[in-house]
């Protein structure tokens, strides 16, 4: 189960990297960046996951109050930080894309003038 979760989260991150390399549309690159973030967040949460452990909230239903009962809460707290930073990055990136669109009139990354033989 661990292998499946690790592999799938890393594959999700790799899908994001593939999109960032292969696409030329700026919005698609940003979406790929968000997919990459999701994969990394899943990887971090999986690093603290355990099948027989509980949600890290102390309730009266747990028999033996001990650290063994809970999944690792530290990656979850770090992923919360990661999500908020991802929101900030997305915000500023969208503003930059809007500026780019207003300046050039399209959303595609163009080759510069001296490379005019390049692909549209």
């Amino acid at each position: 189960m661990f292998t499946i979760l690790y592999t799938l989260s890393l594959v999700l991150a790799l899908i994001g990297i593939f999109g960032m390399i292969s696409q030329k549309n700026l919005i698609k690159i940003l979406i790929s960046l968000n997919i990459l973030e999701t994969g990394v967040n899943l990887f971090l949460v999986t690093a603290g996951w355990s099948a027989e452990a509980n949600v890290p909230i102390i309730t009266g239903k747990l028999g033996l109050p001990s650290a063994v009962n809970f999944v690792d809460p530290l990656p979850q707290a770090l992923v919360l930080t990661s999500i908020v930073i991802g929101l900030g990055v997305t915000t500023v990136a969208l503003a930059l894309i809007l500026r780019y669109y207003r300046k050039t009139g399209n959303l595609t990354l163009e080759p510069s003038e001296f490379q005019s033989g390049g692909e549209r």
Partner: protein, 264 residues
Amino acid sequence: MNNPRTSRYIFSLILTVLLGYAVFAALGTQGGTLRFGPHSPTSRVSGAMIEKNIEGARPNLTAKNHTGPSNVSFAPGSKGLENGAANIVSSIVADYRSFDTFGEVLILFAAVTGFMLLLPDKKGKNKGVTSEAPNFVLVKAAPIVFAFAMITGIYISFNGHLTPGGGFAGGAVIATGILILVLSGNEFNSQLLSLTETIAGMLFLAVGAAGLVLKGNFLQNVIPTGVLGYIFSSGIVLALNLIIGLKVGAELGSLILAGGKKEI
């Protein structure tokens, strides 16, 4: 293969596969499974965070053999803990690693400021978010939904140390309420949002400075932790969650309001 798009995709695929091979090789395998298997949290730093015994575990953590059970028993109703939050993730976010959270709030503030700076103000008369007139159902339902969103957001912020939630989730819900109100054509006082954000940021700093003055560390817990499971039970976790909820809600709300005032 002559098509440049096809060759670009193939090149990207090859690069991604190579990178993936490097990542999986770096993670390593042991007997067919990845090396990062299920670890018990007791062998990690977070074991001491779960057992609310950071102070007591400090000598053991340096020796990397923190395995013994803590002498602090914690269950609903236990008193005098190092940190009284029932939600352990909240206790990490808003107490043990609240300096990280401080930086996180600053990053969000910087992102909103960058958004405001990057886009010029709209010139025409149409200052609304949408160009069309809002629907009748939206106009009539928006204040009700806004009230419920505010209550839910404040509740999530207020209960973040007992149930899943916290300042960031609550702030996002508050901002959703503001979004619905703005979409329905209503005005929202953006100066009120700026004021709320400023006051919340200064309160965050004030809580940190209180820890610095009274206990010697920035953002250290100065409020007595009560009985675990009660609403006033977690020291500065409750205060910081409320402050973060207000600040995040005001920041995201002003971001949404700016969307209607900027040239897009």
